[in-house]
Symmetry: C2
Subunit: 353 residues, 2 copies
């Protein structure tokens, strides 16, 4: 391996540091400011042929094996919420990042930053959730680390998981592989995770209890690949929600994405909660939802396979890719009017994952 790429002249301090002298909550929202930080600070400094800022993980060739390698920190508040906890998230989230690279998730490492005074019993419950999520996802947790920070320097516990998965040779699943004419399929209804965490945080209760959609996505992706679907791109709909994800893919593929708003599945209780909280469900985080970009002729089969994998969900085709207005996402609303969709620009739901 060569590290010659680092020998480029050291990049100069970017102007964005003066524009934003301090980190704000919005820098962690998954939206515009976070991308600005990555593009201006991390990408130029860490630049190398394998650095991946556009994807959920990096694809590496090591001794003949093609691997996906990824990491995520989890800082969700509160730690326990309807349908899961930070442990469930820490396993599913990283497993899903591997799956979105087209990799079979295999191994995880887990690192804990624990605040002094945190109940050991809560730590046990969280580790138990991690065990259960790992079983469900078919992965092994193989190594870890534990750090303790003084009272007032943390918020209970933060968990960082990193994962390694195996990718079939020749497979290229990435925003770069998206093509005009691709159909866009979503694997189920959106918004449940964000609303579940938000309602727990704010002490709200709705008529119907809304549980997080947190789930491992390795199995449905492996099913699509095994059935021979020519997947171009996959992306899970976490921070910033469906809207931000689509804008990211439109921008990095330099293509136009057109979505039919009316086809995006949302449960009535989620819609009701969003209205009450003043949230747009298109920007609400999910932890078990993804979009697949596939050739139009394989769209119906994709929907059928995803439906078989998760009988409790209703996958649907929500839009298509064209070479119209490049880098732009448009959404058709109920009155057939088209609007341009942007990334989340400020903070909507901080610390959702």
């Amino acid at each position: 391996m060569s590290v010659d790429s680092y020998r480029d002249q050291e990049p100069g301090r970017p102007d964005v540091l003066a524009e934003h002298p301090h980190i704000s909550i919005a820098h962690g929202s998954g939206g515009r400011l976070m991308h600005q930080l990555i593009d201006n600070v991390f990408a130029p400094l860490f630049k190398n042929p394998d650095f991946e800022s556009q994807h959920d993980g990096a694809l590496l060739e090591i001794a003949g094996a093609k691997l996906a390698f990824t990491t995520d920190s989890y800082v969700v508040n509160p730690l326990f919420f309807p349908g899961g906890d930070i442990g469930t998230l820490a396993v599913c989230g990283t497993v899903n990042d591997l799956a979105m690279c087209g990799a079979r998730p295999l191994y995880l490492c887990a690192s804990f930053i624990i605040e002094e005074g945190f109940p050991t019993d809560s730590l046990w419950r969280i580790a138990l959730s991690m065990r259960q999520a790992a079983m469900k996802a078919g992965v092994h947790i193989v190594s870890g680390d534990t750090k303790v920070v003084d009272r007032g320097c943390g918020d209970g516990v933060y968990i960082t998981t990193s994962g390694v998965g195996l990718v079939n040779q020749g497979l290229e699943i990435s925003p770069r592989a998206v093509k005009p004419g691709d159909a866009i399929i979503i694997n189920g209804d959106i918004g449940r995770h964000g609303i579940a965490v938000m309602s727990q945080r704010e002490g709200l209760s709705f008529e119907t209890r809304i549980e997080s959609d947190c789930a491992p996505l390795g199995a449905p992706v492996m099913q699509l690949l095994e059935k021979g679907i020519d997947i171009h791109c996959l992306r899970d709909l976490t921070r910033g929600g469906l809207a931000t994800t689509l804008v990211e893919i439109a921008e990095s593929s330099c293509l136009h994405i057109g979505i039919d708003d009316r086809k995006v599945p949302i449960r009535d209780e989620v819609l009701g909660a969003c209205e009450m909280l003043g949230l747009d469900p298109m920007y609400v985080a999910n932890e078990g939802r993804f979009v697949a970009f596939v050739p139009a002729r394989e769209a119906e089969q994709t929907v059928a396979i995803l439906g078989d994998c998760s009988p409790d969900l209703t996958p649907v085709i929500i839009g298509e890719v064209s070479d119209g207005e490049r880098g732009v996402v448009t959404m058709k609303s109920i009155i057939d009017a088209e609007r341009i969709v942007d990334m989340l620009s400020g903070e909507q739901l901080p610390r959702i994952c």
Copy 2:
């Protein structure tokens, strides 16, 4: 891969939760309490054939490639200290964990948990240090994550890095490979990192400025392997210092380790600072020091190779392994008296890495 090992009956809640209902700073010290937490909570819950609680990383076979995979969180306080910063540590620390598995360090992921209000300029300086450390260590940073937590829920920035390295087939470097008769070699003087961080934290200044020994250890380890040294075990001397590391290895190899205190290199200024601060240098953290366990007949050659790699350090043989009192470390002092060495039991230097 099978995950059948997880199908074992769910382990019961361990008694240690009642004994220690809350996490204390000592749980993160690298000493006895941390090992208790790992052995009673994480090990039984995450148990699987690849789970590694005795080593710096896990060794995995994926598609014919033998890999080391590891993670560590860095919570050092203060973030900047003489000789480095949290960014230097986050790269060197994880690179070193890979090297201690006998792996050639290749790729890192980096995940940032940043506190709202943190100066973006400091983030730039830290990322620059990471770039420089990665160049020095010959690794690529390939993927990452950024999370922001509210003001008062963090301490500037915490970084978690995970790493993947390549191990030669057939190589087994682990506490299990330590044998009676092995010589124990240290690559240089101890205690500089801990004292550098501590003096910065406490605002102390000494006659001679003490800088952290933070450095990547991939190159010396690769040199030993290339020259054909039959390395049995490697371990870097981080949290808990030389003493805790030796006790860990004695316990997991079920052998006796005998050290000659007088041979352990310590600079006068470090010794002076330790005396002033009431610290035992044997327990002070290092970030560029390791011990190698090799057959006695290869000890002198090991010392020579390590000396060639780092002309500014003086590697020495500090002791040997025997099948005497099993699981015990003894240290011969200046008056030839022998004392039994234990792990760090409380907190000595919290948040040192």
